[in-house]
């Protein structure tokens, strides 16, 4: 195990990195450690943890902005911001352990990205330290700012391959007053439910492609409507949608009612959930993709391609489960079975997408599986450019070696 340094200031980070780069030591950066399974673990000579950099530097609630250090957990930050009724509206899994730095580095987000986007949409400033110990910043503390290149966005999703993030500034939102979730069951036609005259052929077709068509119809109708949900989440066991509305009380309830009507007109069954039940529902939802064994694939696609992808998965004969952002097209697919079967699913899935129309990245998998497939998938024609950026920031490849996208 490599040495783990826990710097308590930006100067200490700079000092540690400058030393590492002079001595040509490979450095692995750690946040909360919630995503170390993503991609191969970097071979490192020294580890740097951001844990002790955990302050909320400033909460400018009148301006709806906050500057926070990289090692603070999202949950801790949001607890602090809640004192003025505000938050960073990100809800990736394990918010109690995931650090701001890690969330930015992986551009991770949860169901509410349907409305609020991902870290790259909320970040307005960043402080970093380069491998040679140079501390630099871009952006600032104002929500609108186009002076200079946007290093904040360059760092989001870089998996720590370019520099160490020491703090970030976000634009904030007011915490909504009320919430309702409509659970939309598309697994069988609610209009036929309870009918005793179902023929066998009919029930067979219900378990086949029909529910996916219904899913597509409901998602499409919701997207085409003027409703403003904060989340449109898919679950496949059973096949259903969780559609959340967060606003003032009157609007959350009214919109939930309208969503119910849309779902029912497409033959889906609905239940409106609120209060403690709603909280429990979302907590269970968050755990879904990661709790059980199996390979986990982060899948992105255009919303209209979702139901065909599900139908294809159902036809593979493998055991799988999917959850995620149906309205945005960012999902997590868990595949059971042996490595060979998982690899087949991953490869076939990638082959379904024309360039730019979808991606499948392996975010959790056995060593056996990783030996069979490429974690990131086909890179497209901009990979040389990404390599050139990495080369500029970290010419000797000392920072989080191999951990960046496509092994940058």
């Amino acid at each position: 195990m490599a040495d783990l340094l826990q710097p308590a200031s930006v100067d200490e980070v700079a000092h540690a990195l400058a030393h590492a780069s002079r001595a040509k030591l490979r450095v692995a950066v750690h946040g909360g450690g919630t995503k170390v399974g993503w991609g191969p673990p970097p071979p490192a000579d020294v580890g740097i943890s951001t844990r002790r950099l955990d302050a909320v530097v400033a909460h400018r609630y009148g301006d709806l902005t906050a500057t926070v250090q990289a090692g603070a957990t999202l949950a801790a930050v949001n607890r602090e911001l809640a004192r003025h009724g505000q938050w960073i509206p990100l809800d990736p899994p394990s918010a109690d352990r995931a650090t701001i730095g890690g969330i930015v580095a992986t551009n991770d987000a949860g169901p509410r990205r349907h409305r609020y986007g991902t870290p790259r949409d909320l970040i307005i400033g960043i402080d970093i330290v380069r491998i040679d110990g140079t501390a630099a910043k871009s952006g600032g503390i104002v929500v609108k700012n186009v002076a200079g290149y946007d290093l904040g966005r360059l760092m989001t999703g870089s998996f720590g391959s370019l520099a160490v993030i020491t703090s970030a500034t976000f634009k904030l939102y007011p915490i909504p007053a009320a919430s309702r979730t409509v659970v939309i069951d598309v697994s069988e036609d609610a209009r036929l439910k309870g009918s005793r005259h179902l023929t066998d052929t009919r029930s067979a077709s219900l378990s086949g492609e029909r529910p996916f068509d219904r899913l597509d119809a409901v998602v499409s109708s919701l997207l085409a409507s003027q409703l403003t949900p904060t989340a449109i989440e898919l679950e496949t066991k059973p096949l259903r949608l969780l559609v959340r509305f967060e606003s003032i009380e009157a609007a959350a309830t009214e919109q939930a009612r309208q969503a119910t009507r849309i779902a029912e007109s497409n033959g889906a069954g609905t239940t409106i959930v609120a209060g403690a039940d709603e909280t429990a529902l979302w907590e269970a939802h968050e755990r879904r993709a990661w709790e059980d064994d199996g390979a986990v694939i982060k899948l992105t696609l255009l919303p209209k391609d979702l139901s065909a992808t599900l139908a294809w998965l159902a036809s593979t004969g493998e055991a799988w489960e999917m959850i995620g952002r149906a309205g945005v097209g960012a999902l997590l697919l868990r595949v059971d079975g042996d490595a060979a079967a998982q690899a087949r699913v991953l490869k076939d899935l990638r082959a379904r997408f024309a360039p730019g129309r979808g991606s499948a990245v392996l975010v959790r998998g056995s060593e056996a599986l990783k030996a069979l497939v490429d974690v990131w998938g086909p890179p497209g024609d901009s990979l040389p450019l990404m390599r050139a950026v990495k080369q500029q920031f970290d010419p000797e490849g000392l920072l989080n070696p191999g951990r960046g996208p496509f092994g940058l």
Partner: protein, 482 residues
């Protein structure tokens, strides 16, 4: 221009797509910042992405610098020609390539006019959110380069929030695709870096954009206040009530007068006019609008005007969006600034601007995006009066120092360009600028793409203030060649 280079260009584009005639070049000497002028070496008007690629490749091969230009409405001299360089004008790449309503995407060429995008999908109930006041005349390519904003960006974000994929010709002539139409494609967020890079990293030849559903309800209120402070307090209360309006705009007496003279929106004659627009679900908008109305009254708002229909709303926006252009009615020349401050610092910064107005003797109008603290001070001057142009420039630069003092930025949406490159060291340290230039070196190692913009150079800024060090490309003498 070398004959060999010209011959190469003629093999790529039609002869009439190359402008060299002095009088023809005249129209391209400046962009929306007319104060800065340069004669381009020549102008090319390619007709396709392939032609753009051919032109850039020829530039690369012959070591000729180039500058991309959209519709030339930029206000920071971003499309200002560089002497001896090629100006690549993208107005002929104006096709809408793909409309995908179910997935809420549209793919367009860079010369497409901003408003065209919304027009082309309006019948389906969708629109493109970023709405610069220049939206009838500016291009998507220019918007991407500047990360343009608009009145409604407070709630819906800027260009960067609405671009999902780009096709780009790199300065070495290679064509690459970054992002796509699906979200979160793996890799570095190069879209995030390219948007707002002011044409210094390559030439955009296609953009895939996100479309939004037209909201169920829109409500607009206009109120007059006896001071900008009072109007500012109303804005604070609105934000404090947990409301994120679609837009919050403020105009002061001078800009209201100018707008009145130009487009007759019939605004009240007051020290400050505040426009607040809410949109979204009916239930939410109705409840929150009531709160906004109450706040406006409580903070001393008079002449409250609530748009009763689309026509009334359109008139309010016409008055606001005409504000810049209308300044011509009250002053022979004006200089627009684009500084940003944390919204809560508004009273303090406005007070300093007023003191400066008195001290300098130049009138300064103020029209701003009050929700996000983006000021647009309009410094009025008369070029005919000796020295006033320079004075206006100094006054504008001083306003930017107030913004920086308040923790803000020198530009919120117009870009640094050639105009403010020398101000960058006031906002960023040497290490910050040097780190940004690493990105530049990755994309454009030879410094051929829109040189001299965004980053300070000794040639432009003389002795560069602060401890700024030269970029290696400059040191090698490459970037200073033109």
């Amino acid at each position: 221009m070398h004959a060999a280079f010209l011959a190469a260009l003629e093999r790529i584009v039609r002869r009439d797509a190359i402008l060299r005639d002095e009088t023809e070049l005249l129209a391209y000497e400046s962009d929306g910042l007319a104060r800065l002028r340069e004669r381009p070496g020549l102008v090319v008007l390619p007709n396709s992405a392939e032609e753009v690629q051919g032109v850039v490749r020829a530039c690369h091969e012959h070591g000729v610098a180039f500058v991309a230009r959209g519709h030339g409405t930029g206000l920071s001299g971003g499309a200002l020609p560089v002497p001896g360089a090629v100006l690549i004008v993208l107005t002929r790449l104006n096709r809408i390539l793909d409309v995908d309503i179910p997935n809420q995407r549209i793919t367009v060429e860079p010369g497409v006019v901003n408003l065209e995008v919304s027009r082309s999908v309006g019948a389906h109930g969708f629109y493109y959110a970023p709405d610069p006041s220049s939206q009838q005349i500016c291009s998507i390519g220019g918007n991407v380069a500047e990360n343009s904003g608009g009145a409604h960006c407070l709630k819906y974000g800027f260009t960067v929030h609405h671009v999902v994929g780009l096709e780009l010709v790199l300065p070495n002539g290679e064509m690459v695709h970054v992002g796509g139409s699906a979200v979160d494609l793996p890799g570095l967020d190069l879209v995030g870096v390219l948007v707002g890079s002011e044409g210094t990293l390559g030439v955009v030849t296609k953009a895939t954009l996100r479309l939004l559903r037209i909201p169920e309800t829109v409500r607009t209120i206009l109120a007059a206040f006896e001071s900008t402070e009072a109007a500012g307090n109303a804005v604070s209360d609105i934000i404090g009530a947990g409301i994120i309006p679609a837009a919050v705009e403020m105009m002061d007496r001078l800009t209201v007068e100018a707008a009145e003279a130009a487009v007759h929106p019939n605004f009240p004659k007051a020290e400050a006019v505040l426009i607040v627009e809410l949109d979204g679900s009916s239930a939410e908008v109705h409840e929150q609008f009531r709160v906004v109305e109450e706040i406006c009254h409580r903070r001393g708002g008079t002449d409250v005007l609530i748009a009763r229909n689309d026509e009334q709303r359109a008139r309010i926006w016409k008055g606001r969006k005409a504000a810049f252009a209308a300044m011509g009615r009250v002053s022979p020349n004006y200089y627009v600034q684009d500084g940003v401050i944390p919204r809560t610092k508004l009273p303090e910064v406005l007070r300093r601007i007023r003191e400066l107005e008195v001290r300098s003797g130049l009138r300064i109008g103020n029209v701003f995006h009050a929700g996000d603290g983006n000021l647009h001070p309009l410094v009025c001057y008369d070029e005919g009066i000796g020295g006033q142009g320079e004075l206006a420039e100094q006054v504008a630069a001083e306003i930017l120092t107030y913004c920086i003092d308040a923790g803000g930025s020198i530009t919120g949406e117009h870009g640094v360009g050639a105009d403010k490159a020398c101000q960058m060291p006031k906002m960023f340290g040497a290490a910050d600028l040097e780190t940004m230039l690493l990105v530049r070196s990755a994309f454009d190692p030879r410094g051929l793409c829109n040189p001299g913009k965004v980053f300070p150079t000794p040639r432009l800024c003389g002795e560069v203030p602060g401890p700024y060090r030269q970029h290696p490309v400059e040191r090698a003498g490459l970037a200073e060649r033109f």
